[in-house]
């Protein structure tokens, strides 16, 4: 099978259905990158499954020529859990939105993360409810004016990566729709991670929340507002002009050159959970000049839920022997009537 797969191209992963997102929507770019990396996974096409909830982003499976389910709002993660347990051989991708995954579906998400099933979660964060035509979401900033918050949203938003870390996620990462190369790298990393991968993708909804990530995604500002993390590498940004040091527990921006060199900087260690925590918190307060980190903030190896379950099935068989239906039906206590 995988032999055949070698000859597959991104086009083989497109369906014949018209893609129905608004022209200009960030979802197109993500679809393209996902289709692009598919042939590189070395997984037979028939073993790939896309599961989504409801939302603009959740239309995704219809456009992937793999197995797929457009389920119900908020439940992609729990559908995926059952699927993965039933059929551990599959490569399961969950596509969800900030509403689908963090509002109605928040609970299934954090439970999936703690259980650590080997599922790749792509959270399309556009900080808005797109499909229902523009209400604020759990990631919309305070003050955002939307159809349901004409005087500005008053809900303190989630920090999705901090939440995932708090739920003991084993892989958290961030990328953006406008950065196809980085996206591809992150998609591949998500795939490679054995365990639940939580990838937040900043996605522009040009109809209801255009420019939400402008500062972070436009060409000019980007070097100063974003930080690209690489394991083992110092935290450098602003085209190499600035770096970040850890002053006690506080990250601080420093200018490289006179006073600081790269060797003084915080070296990114994907496996340090406390550092990851600090990175997730480089988020709320743009005034402090800290850029927002992209890349893999944290990764950890932890036993897979499906392996543990499978292990119990195997050892149950080892201990009790393969199930015998007649013995089960009879139970341990029978008598005869003649």
């Amino acid at each position: 099978m995988s032999e055949e797969n070698i000859t597959l191209t991104p086009k083989d992963f497109a369906t014949d259905q018209d893609v129905r997102w608004c022209p200009g929507c960030g979802d197109y770019s993500i679809l393209k990158q996902v289709q692009t990396i598919m042939p590189e996974l070395d997984v037979p096409k028939e073993d790939i499954v896309f599961i989504s909830g409801i939302g603009c982003s959740s239309r995704f499976p219809y456009y992937m020529n793999t197995y797929g389910m457009h389920s119900i709002h908020g439940r992609a993660t729990s559908v995926a859990s059952g699927l993965k347990l039933a059929n551990p051989n599959t490569s399961v991708w969950v596509v969800t939105g900030d509403g689908d995954g963090l509002s109605i579906g928040g609970n299934h998400l954090i439970h999936l993360l703690r259980r650590n099933l080997d599922v790749n979660i792509l959270l399309f964060n556009n900080e808005i409810y797109g499909l229902t035509k523009g209400q604020y979401s759990p990631t919309s900033p305070v003050g955002q004016v939307t159809k349901s918050s004409p005087m500005g949203a008053i809900d303190h938003p989630f920090n999705p990566l901090a939440l995932a870390l708090g739920a003991d996620a084993t892989f958290i990462a961030r990328t953006a729709d406008r950065d196809p190369l980085h996206q591809r790298e992150m998609l591949l990393r998500s795939h490679k991670h054995k365990g639940s991968s939580f990838l937040e993708i900043y996605q522009n909804c040009n109809v209801f929340n255009d420019g939400a990530f402008e500062v972070m995604t436009d060409k000019k500002g980007r070097p100063f507002t974003t930080l690209y993390l690489e394991h083992g590498k110092p935290l450098v940004f602003a085209n190499g002009e600035k770096g970040i040091i850890l002053d006690g527990l506080k990250p601080k921006v420093v200018n490289l050159g006179a006073d600081y060199s790269e060797s003084d900087l915080w070296i990114h260690d994907e496996h340090d959970q406390t550092k990851a925590y600090i990175l997730t918190r480089m988020f709320e307060d743009p005034q402090d000049g800290l850029p927002r980190p992209f890349g893999v903030l944290y990764s950890e190896e932890r036993p897979l839920y499906e392996d543990l379950l499978e292990g119990q099935l195997v050892s149950a068989k080892a201990i009790k022997g393969e199930g015998n239906l007649d013995a089960l039906i009879a139970g341990s206590n029978t008598w005869d009537v003649k």
């Binding site: 099978m1 369906t15 259905q17 037979p44 096409k45 028939e46 073993d47 790939i48 499954v49 599961i51 409801i54 499976p61 219809y62 992937m64 020529n65 793999t66 197995y67 797929g68 389910m69 457009h70 389920s71 119900i72 439940r75 729990s78 559908v79 995926a80 859990s81 059952g82 699927l83 993965k84 347990l85 039933a86 059929n87 051989n89 599959t90 609970n107 299934h108 439970h111 379950l309 119990q312 099935l313 149950a316 068989k317 201990i319 009790k320 022997g321 393969e322 199930g323 239906l325 007649d326 089960l328 039906i329 009879a330 139970g331 206590n333 029978t334 008598w335 005869d336 009537v337 003649k338």
Partner: protein, 617 residues
């Protein structure tokens, strides 16, 4: 000393939660079963985990009905009431037959116990009782201690065996052997031989006590029943359901995936299934009922047999996802072990009040087969049939059980695995041609392609789909067509039902008692007895509550009056009246308790009266 032969007896063992009531009851049942009696049992736990000792809320009960004839219910009013304390008497006295007999542990009637039970603490309850009832009071605590005066055990451990005294005493009354229980105690306490021997000593002491005071007591003979020959076991409803699901998985060659969230009285299915991992059963304790059902849907999409179970509040939470499964047309079995409602209601009590929810409780036109088990052992074949329908017709199926069936138990002449129905999943033929996920066969069933199968890649979802292709479609005519197809597909399941068979009586006549679910035993007994008295009444019991069997209409219309007893405020009766426009009458009981056959008999006699009046006028 008199020896009466009786055809059946109902005993209610009752006492404090810590008194070992459940064990006493189940041991007596096992012994009776071995002896050859038919029987039926029902435990009645307090609502609290450990309610305060001595209070009415803390009373635990075990009801047992055994006989030399076929037994269909754990019995109505009680022949013999065993009470270990005053609270047990307070709670259960009203359940005793007028000529019933009380065996009381007088040690449980001291001032403290009387007060806790809500009696005046200076009353002599047992003496007063003697004026209206036959009462045997014995100081079980004292007698037990005496029997164990040579034991090296501490007082606490000694007192713990007092239930064995009562059991021994009852074995004497009914002339039963102590062998089975003696063996049981030896096995159970194999590692604590002292405790085993103390229990056996007390058991014997109880038996001998009977012999000693013999003169003043009636002894009953309950001969073996004429049961069908074969091998039997005892089974509860939740057990039967669980092993039925495993059997269906084996028979369909699909791994069983059970997604569930604990809830009374369905949790025991999860407990039972999680013990059978050597059958490849995957149990997944989800974070809530929504995750439970959606994980099961995901598992079915992945090629497993997805099953979920819950009770009222949890089923309510699953309704949105069940609608999805109806759209996806994937196999899914949803078990509702009903309990008292609405809302949290009476979680430890039984009720049949989720029928209309099962049939109608979803948004949109969302038909789904609903089938109901009627007794503890019947859950086994009900579970298998539900899985067979779900798989072979690619549809979610709702199974209705209830607290009474789930916790009750009865002897079961179990089948051989090889004789169970085969189940054939309609697997997609992926022969290189295009796979159309919503193309259907003559039963309107679509075929099933599963991740991992090359050439079967397809997308499903909750939006309306185009006929055959399954692509999203907003086309008006297509929607109407699909709604009708989904309805007709469920309707056609009825074509495979075996013809209806009467439980009792002819297929036409004056009065039909139509039941479903756990009212089975009570109706059966009532109708049998009435027919014995010459009343023209028949009993039909529905397993398929949606869709109805094709031959139901003709049967219903062959009777002058139709009476529908339900443990709710009248639900099946609504479906019947709507569908057949017959003036079916409802008999309701909404007390968290099963019917007594006497209640059904009375209602039938009222119908007889009305009929006579009609005929006279």
């Amino acid at each position: 000393m008199s020896q009466h032969e009786v055809s059946k007896v109902t005993i209610l063992f009752s006492g404090d939660s810590g008194d070992g009531i459940q064990l006493t009851g189940s041991e007596f049942s096992h012994t009776a079963a071995l002896y050859g009696n038919d029987l039926s049992t029902f435990p009645d736990f307090p609502a609290e985990i450990r309610a305060p000792q001595g209070t009415v809320a803390g009373v635990s009960g075990f009801k047992l009905n055994f006989g030399s004839e076929a037994i269909y219910t754990p019995g109505g009013s009680v022949d013999v009431l065993v009470v270990m304390n005053a609270a047990a008497l307070k709670k259960n006295l009203s359940d005793l037959k007028e000529d019933g007999f009380i065996i009381a542990n007088s040690a449980g009637f001291d001032k403290r116990n009387l007060k806790l039970a809500g009696y005046p603490d200076d009353s002599d309850v047992l003496s007063e009782l003697r004026e209206s009832h036959r009462v045997l009071d014995l100081d079980v605590t004292k007698l037990t201690r005496e029997a164990l005066k040579d034991s090296s055990l501490g007082t606490k451990d000694r007192d713990r065996s007092k239930n064995m005294f009562v059991l021994g005493f009852l074995y004497w009354i009914y002339g039963r052997s102590l062998d089975r229980t003696t063996q049981f105690l030896e096995t159970k306490f194999a590692k604590k031989p002292e405790i085993a021997s103390a229990n056996i000593t007390v058991l014997k002491a109880g038996y001998h006590y009977g012999e000693t005071i013999e003169a003043s007591l009636p002894r009953y003979i309950v001969k073996p029943a004429k049961l069908e020959a074969g091998t039997y076991r005892n089974i509860s409803g939740n057990q039967g359901l669980a092993i039925g699901l495993i059997a269906a998985a084996e028979k369909s060659n699909l791994p069983l995936f059970y997604g569930s969230y604990p809830i009374t009285p369905a949790s025991d299915i999860l407990h039972e299934l999680s013990r059978h991992k050597n059958f490849g059963v995957k149990t997944f304790q989800a974070e809530d009922e929504i995750a439970a059902v959606t994980s099961a849907i995901g598992a079915s999409f992945g090629g497993n047999l997805g099953v979920t179970a819950s009770s009222g509040p949890g089923i309510a939470l699953k309704t949105e996802a069940i609608g999805l499964a109806i759209m996806l047309e994937l196999p899914l079995v949803i078990v509702n072990v009903q309990r008292g409602g609405p809302s949290t209601g009476l979680p430890t009590k039984t009720e049949q009040a989720d029928l209309l929810q099962a049939v109608y409780g979803r948004n949109g036109e969302a038909p789904m087969p609903v089938i109901a088990a009627h007794s503890p052992s019947d859950t086994f074949s009900t579970a298998i049939e539900a899985c067979k329908i779900a798989i072979e017709h690619m549809t979610p199926v709702m199974v209705l059980s209830d607290g009474y069936i789930a916790n009750g138990s009865e002897p079961w002449k179990f089948p051989n695995a090889k004789d169970l129905p085969t189940i054939n999943p309609p697997k997609a033929k992926l022969d290189g041609g295009e796979y159309l996920p919503y193309q259907r066969d003559e039963k309107l069933v679509r075929s099933w392609a599963v991740p991992g199968e090359a050439g079967g890649e397809h997308r499903v979802g909750g939006l309306e789909k185009e006929e055959n292709t399954g692509n999203v479609s907003y086309d008006p005519e297509n929607h109407e067509r699909m709604v009708k197809i989904r309805a007709e597909k469920v309707q056609r399941i009825a074509n495979s039902f075996t013809p209806l068979e009467m439980e009792e009586g002819e297929t036409s006549g004056d009065i039909l008692v139509l039941g479903w679910g756990s009212t089975f035993g009570a109706i059966k007994v009532a109708v049998r007895e009435l027919r014995g008295d010459g009343v023209h009444v028949s009993h039909l019991h529905l397993r398929h509550v949606s869709p109805f069997p094709n031959d139901l209409e003709e049967l219903l219309k062959s009777f002058k009056r139709v009476l529908i007893p339900e443990i709710n405020n009248g639900q099946l009766v609504k479906l019947i009246r709507d569908q057949y426009l017959i003036d079916a009458k409802s008999l309701c009981k909404i007390q968290g308790l099963p019917f007594r056959s006497s209640e059904i008999k009375a209602a039938v006699m009222e119908e007889v009266r009305i009929l006579t009046q009609m005929q006279e006028s």
